[in-house]
Point group: C2
Chain length 225, copies 2
C-alpha cells in the first residue's frame, strides 16, 4: 500500500476525538445519557438524507436544531440554549490516547496528513492546538467547502483535489463504517479504526485494513507496501 500512497485523510469525530465525555455532559445538563447517541445518529441521518438528494446544510445547524427538539421532548429547561451549548462542546473533546504518537510516526515516515470532517474544520484546529499536533497536518478540510457530506463521493473527490492527488493515492482512516464505505466507493484506500471490537456491517463496502488502535496503523501500512 505504501508504494503509491501519498496522503492519509483522517476523519475527526470519534476517529481522533474521544466522544464518550459527551454522555456525561448530557447528564449534567439534565438530559438522559442515551440521548447523546440518539442525537448523533439522528444528525447523521438528516445530513445523509441531504447528501442523497445532492443538498447540504451545516453540521452545527442540523445538530443544534435536532438536539433542541430532543431536549424539549425530554422536558429539559431552556432546550435551545442547552442544545447550543452541548452541540458546541463537540469542539472541546480530548484526543484518543493512541492518536499523538501514531500521527507523529506516520508524518515521520513521509506521508502527507490531512483531516476531512462532516463538521467544522475548527473542531480539528482546536483538537490539534491543545495537543501540539497542528504542525503535523498539511490541511484541515471540511465538507462545508465540498458539494456534499461524506459518504457522498463528491466529498472525497474534493479532498483529493485540494491535495492535488488522485483518489487512489489517498487513504481514509475512519472509525465509522459508513465513511469507509463512501471512501471505498470513491476510489480511496481505507483503514477502519475499530477500537471497540465491533463487527463490520455486512451491507457496506469493506475496509482494506482494520486496526483496533491507531498505533497499529504505521505497521499495517508498511506490511502492505
Amino acid at each position: 500500500m505504501a508504494q503509491t500512497l501519498e496522503v492519509i485523510v483522517f476523519d475527526v469525530n470519534e476517529t481522533l476525538s474521544d466522544m464518550s465525555p459527551i454522555a456525561e455532559r448530557f447528564v449534567e445538563a439534565g438530559a438522559p445519557a442515551y440521548m447523546a447517541k440518539l442525537w448523533f445518529a439522528t444528525l447523521l441521518r438528516d445530513g445523509f438524507a441531504l447528501a442523497a438528494t445532492g443538498d447540504a446544510a451545516r453540521f452545527a445547524d442540523i445538530g443544534t436544531e435536532i438536539l433542541t427538539g430532543l431536549l424539549e421532548a425530554a422536558g429539559v429547561a431552556d432546550p435551545e440554549g442547552t442544545a447550543r451549548r452541548l452541540a458546541s462542546s463537540v469542539a472541546d473533546l480530548p484526543l484518543h490516547p493512541d492518536v499523538p504518537d501514531a500521527i507523529r510516526a506516520l508524518r515521520a515516515t513521509g506521508y502527507r496528513l490531512v483531516t476531512l470532517t462532516n463538521g467544522a474544520a475548527q473542531v480539528a484546529e482546536n483538537l490539534f492546538a491543545m495537543a501540539g499536533l497542528r504542525g503535523e497536518f498539511e490541511q484541515l478540510l471540511s465538507v462545508e467547502d465540498a458539494p456534499a457530506w461524506k459518504p457522498h463521493p463528491s466529498s472525497y473527490r474534493y479532498a483529493a483535489q485540494r491535495c492535488g492527488v488522485r483518489e487512489q493515492e489517498m487513504l481514509l482512516v475512519a472509525a465509522h463504517p459508513w465513511d469507509i464505505h463512501g471512501a471505498a466507493r470513491g476510489g480511496l484506500r481505507t483503514a477502519w479504526v475499530n477500537r471497540a471490537g465491533a463487527p463490520y456491517p455486512s451491507y457496506l463496502a469493506r475496509p482494506e485494513a482494520t486496526v483496533t488502535s491507531l498505533a497499529q496503523l504505521p505497521s499495517a501500512l508498511a506490511g502492505t507496501s
Copy 2:
C-alpha cells in the same frame, strides 16, 4: 392541487402505522425503551448513507444487523434472535386511527392511491389486510424494486413510472420530513402529517401542505385545487 393531482403516494412506517407499541416490545424483550428510537434512526442513517453512494440494501437486513449490535451492547440475551423477532414486529403494528376513513374518502374522491416504503411491501399488505383497506390501494410499492431508498430522487421516479404518471401528478403523504424533502426535490407535491405538533426542520425542503391528522387531508386537497 386537485386539478392535476392523479396519484396519492403514502409512506407506510409511522405515516400509516403507529410505531409507538415498538417501545413496549423492546422493554418486554429486556431492552431499554429508548432503544427503539435509536435503532430506527441508526437504521435510516445507514440506509441513507447507501443512498448517498448510489447503493442499497434491504431494510430488514440493515435493521436486524444494527439491532443485534445494540442488543448485544446492552447485554440482552440472544441478541440475534431477539433482533430478528423485534425487527419483524414492524410488520405487526396497528394503523393510526385517522387512517381508514381518510383513505376511503380520498379514494371516493377519485384519487388513485399507492404506498411507497423503504421497507418491504409486505408490511403494507399486512396493515391493510387486517383493516380491510387493501382494495382501496392500486399498488403497494417498495424501494426494494427501485435503484435506491427514499429520499433519493430515483425512488420517487420509480413510483411515478410504476403509476404511469409524471412526478408533478403525484402527492407524497409522509410523517418524516426527510421524505417530504426528497419528494419535493424529486418534483412531487407534498403533504406532511405532523400528528405530534413538531417543528419542521429548517434545513429541509418544506411541504406544500401540513396536516395534524390524515382526516384533514381531503379538505386540504380540495382547498388548494
